[in-house]
């Protein structure tokens, strides 16, 4: 039973009256809440998850953030399924993190990352929906003086079977709100689902078609000023001096403000004027201890780690050293991946309003609670005196989840201008050069093969950056970063390796450069799948075996990994000849609780241009909440993964990231987009994520196909750095 029965239940009206005070009468800028602030009589909530209005509109509250991945719709489907309401009447709203705090986290965790939007919260949101249904039924039954068990629910209508009387959710919701929440809440068997599990259309499409969807960038408040910021280009550096007087008289400029010890912001009436003045502002930096670091020096540090004695062990079986010594054949290769920027389409931004008593922030965030903590910290106020309003995100991909550096900056700026709301917008250049980058790693693969070409031993040495060490050291386990081993774990429901290798050692020599890492869609599963799955391909070729057959020999004990791999092989037609000039690659992995496999068809021209013709992806996420959205997530995953594999790299020179915008950090566009066929094969019994795991198979499937086409093994990304021209 996840619905907190002891939590105080202030009426919706009381809550909103409070919010209204705090917002000084400002209009909270998202539709669902705005509608409830218009002074119309409020329906009391049935419980924390569900409000039914007299006109039968069902408002479902969603704690996780919608950033394009369809979580809003998926979670609403789960609640609506158990509630038994009419889907056509469903709308959604975000309860604020401050309300969650005030109500003892009745909505649970707000974090939306690790493809967890649905899979971590499905149980308690479904229970929330089911409990609300039971309360609505109890209210109707009480009114009629009949047993609840004689009543049934269909599309928001409650019918008493024996008498045929019926009423609606809207008619009894006020009474239902007074009923004590049920103790025992049973959930439907997923095979009886009629709303969840169905390819329903998204709830949030229409405002995205006419410009009316409000993103953080678009927020309007009375008296709002705008800020542009420049942080020291070298992480670890500080501001030495700046000449505010020279720009203070420029049009629209209100203030020039130091932010922390490493940044300067200009506040003006419009963003463009703030940015123009900032561009004209001479800032002298103390670039600090990292000013000489470059991609080359980082690579050298990582190379040293490949041979280091000390390393954290992630997976170990048998005796690898012995296997390598006794092998008929040893194959060895070194791989590497660069930093990647998230490059969300909407740059980082936040609006803050600070007074000595209270601080409010409006921002797109993947984790409202973390944003609230960052707000309170920067504001110098207790969290109970702060509030965060989550605004729709123009992309997240992990950037807007773990660290809220931009929120901190916005609050520090607003703190200098008490009572005035200030919107901070990062330019694309600021965003590109102050990311939380996909971590940089290298990997040495060393395999022992017997005379039959069977893999008897594998040492996989990862050298490089740890995300947790930088942003969540409390989640490290005895100095080890478990995230580094995503997709390589000995077992477990999250990210297990799909092969049985009798002698195995996977270890990590941690080397942390100063460029800050973060969770980047797919996280460490991306490089790990490239390393393992491209190397598996190398081993098959080195021993003259078919890459699929070579893998399958090692997969007897991993039926779910094997099933998705076989599914893509079958669909791409692995056993048949590809069209003339077209070559195939295949791979599989497991991450975020789901099993995924990919297959690609590519051709490479004499000039070395790679064209991806076709992608097949198979996903087993256990339960599928909305097949339509999963399909979109899979296609989107390939764009994100292939952008990185083909073109993306953030390089370092003089301590700073060299790429500043989409001209130097190119991403995939429509001309390069292949057809994507998604096979969804939910086997039931577990809840895997879908927003991320497929990314990991994008690169290895394509790189293996490129090898088949050219005989050239791309071991260092991005692919564009390798000369694939025919000799």
């Amino acid at each position: 039973m996840s619905v907190d029965q002891k939590a105080p239940r202030p009426s919706r009206r009381a809550m909103l009256a409070g919010a209204g005070l705090f917002t000084l009468g400002f209009h909270i800028p998202f539709k669902a809440t705005a509608a409830t602030l218009d002074g119309a009589p409020q329906a009391p909530e049935v419980n924390a998850w569900v409000v039914v209005k007299p006109d039968e509109t069902v408002v479902i509250r969603i704690a996780r953030s919608e950033m394009g991945q369809g979580t809003l719709t998926g979670l609403a489907q789960l609640v609506a399924e158990e509630l038994g309401c009419d889907w056509a009447r469903v709308t959604t709203e975000y309860p604020s993190p401050g309300q969650n705090l005030a109500r003892k986290r009745v909505w649970g965790d707000y974090s939306t990352g690790g493809s967890r939007g649905v899979r971590d919260s499905h149980e308690y949101v479904r229970k929330g929906g089911a409990a609300a249904r039971m309360m609505l039924v109890a209210a109707a039954a009480k009114g009629w003086g009949v047993p609840e068990a004689e009543c049934r629910v269909e599309r928001g209508v409650i019918t008493h079977g024996p008498s045929g009387r019926s009423t609606t959710f809207g008619a009894v919701s006020a009474e239902a709100a007074k009923i004590a929440p049920p103790q025992d809440v049973a959930l439907k068997d997923p095979k009886d689902w009629t709303i969840a599990g169905k390819p329903l259309k998204r709830l949030d499409t229409l405002p995205k078609l006419d410009g009316s969807q409000v993103y953080g960038l678009d927020l309007k408040l009375p008296g709002l000023l705008n800020a542009a910021i420049r942080d020291c280009p070298v992480t670890g550096g500080t501001v030495k001096s700046f000449d505010a007087a020279a720009v203070s008289a420029m049009p629209g400029v209100k203030r020039v403000i130091p932010v922390g010890d490493s940044a300067v912001a200009v506040v003006a009436d419009t963003f463009w004027r703030a940015k123009t003045a900032l561009d004209a502002l001479a800032i002298v930096w103390d670039e600090g201890p990292n000013a000489a670091v470059s991609s080359e020096t980082i690579a050298a540090t990582l190379r040293e780690g490949l041979d280091a004695d000390q390393a954290f062990v992630g997976n170990k079986a048998g005796d690898v050293a012995g296997a390598l010594k006794g092998a008929a054949k040893v194959v060895e290769a070194v791989y590497g991946v660069p930093f990647q920027n998230h490059a969300t389409m909407e740059p980082m931004n936040a609006t803050a309003l600070w007074t000595p008593e209270r601080c409010e922030v409006w921002t797109p965030t993947q984790n409202g609670e973390a944003a609230l903590a960052a707000t309170a910290d920067a504001a110098g106020l207790p969290a109970t005196s702060c509030e965060v309003y989550k605004i729709h995100l123009g992309g997240g991909f992990g950037r807007r989840g773990a660290t809220h550096d931009w929120v901190r900056q916005a609050v520090l700026i607003a703190k200098e201008m008490p009572g005035t709301p200030v919107k901070l917008i990062w330019t694309r250049e600021e965003d590109m050069t102050h990311g939380r980058y996909h971590p940089v790693t290298q990997c040495r693969m060393r395999a022992a093969l017997d005379a039959d070409g069977t893999l008897t031993g594998l040492h996989m040495r990862i050298s490089g950056q740890s995300i947790l060490a930088a942003i969540a050291p409390q989640r490290m386990v005895e100095g080890r970063d478990p995230v580094t081993f995503q997709g390589l774990n000995p077992g477990g429901p999250e990210a297990a390796i799909g092969y049985t290798i009798p002698n195995l050692l996977i270890d990590h020599a941690m080397r942390n450069p100063h460029i800050l890492p973060g969770f980047w869609r797919g996280v460490n599963l991306n490089p790990n799948a490239i390393y393992l799955e491209c190397f598996m391909d190398e081993l098959a070729h080195a021993t003259g075996q078919d890459p699929l057959a070579f893998r399958l020999k090692l997969m007897d004990k991993h039926p779910k990994h094997r099933a998705v791999l076989q599914a893509v092989a079958e669909r791409i037609g692995w056993d048949s000849k590809p069209p003339e000039g077209v070559f195939r690659g295949i791979c599989q992995t497991m991450g975020f609780g789901s099993y995924v496999a990919g297959a690609a068809e590519v051709s490479v021209s004499d000039q070395g241009e790679v064209k991806i013709h076709r992608i097949v992806a198979a996903t087993d996420p256990g339960h599928a909440v909305n097949p339509q959205q999963i399909d979109a997530q899979v296609a989107g995953s390939f764009v994100y993964g292939l952008s990185a594999a083909l073109y993306g790299a953030c390089t370092v020179k003089d301590g700073r990231i060299e790429q500043t915008n989409f001209d130097s950090y190119p991403v995939m566009k429509m001309d390069a987009m292949p057809a994507v066929e998604a096979i969804l094969m939910p086997s039931g019994g577990f809840w895997g994520g879908v927003g991320e795991p497929t990314i990991a198979v994008a690169a290895p499937a394509v790189l293996n196909a490129v090898f088949a086409a050219t005989g050239k093994r791309v071991r260092h990304l991005p692919l564009r750095d390798t000369d694939l021209r025919r000799a």
């Binding site: 998204r202 419009t270 463009w272 004027r273 389409m345 979109a632 296609a635 989107g636």
Partner: protein, 153 residues
């Protein structure tokens, strides 16, 4: 004071002549459907129509807009979002986060106005907007669907 015709309404705007049209539209006129994504004509998030042609407004200074030119933004594309492109988008659930979509829709509408029945190759070459969520295949399908339905919306 410059004079602009935006979505059929004449507006007086008070901005420096080198201010990009994007920021004039967003900040002076207050229409925020047109997005900022790069500021250097790379991503297309800021696409508007000027006399029917798609223009990346982040890279067009206010001073380059000629008197009498008709600017249309996503808000003014069609009453009730009834343009065939918008309808096709709704039918196929094209947007993910949606941030790039006003630009995608404006670019697509301009393409169809010019070439009512583009080939797939033409669409791939002409629509160079960036979508980080990766909606390209649905955008492609959406343009084809809108083309099939015709331009009479």
């Amino acid at each position: 004071m410059a004079r602009l015709t935006v979505n059929g309404v004449v507006r007086e705007v008070d901005a420096e002549p080198d201010t990009p049209l994007l920021w004039v539209i967003r900040e002076q006129i207050g229409l925020t459907g047109t997005k900022y994504g790069c500021g250097i004509a790379q991503c297309g998030a800021c696409t508007v129509h000027i006399d029917g042609a798609a223009v990346r407004s982040c890279s067009m200074p206010l001073s380059a807009v000629e008197p009498g030119q008709k600017i249309v933004t996503i808000e003014g594309l069609a009453p009730g979002a009834a343009h065939p492109v918008q309808q096709a988008w709704a039918e196929l659930d094209v947007p993910q986060c949606g941030f790039c979509q006003p630009g995608m829709i404006m670019a697509s509408a301009a393409l169809l106005a010019q070439t009512p029945h583009p080939s797939e190759e033409q669409i791939r070459q002409e629509i160079t907007n960036i979508c980080r969520c990766g909606t390209y295949n649905r955008v492609l399908a959406g343009i084809k669907l809108a083309a099939e339905r015709g331009q009479s919306g």
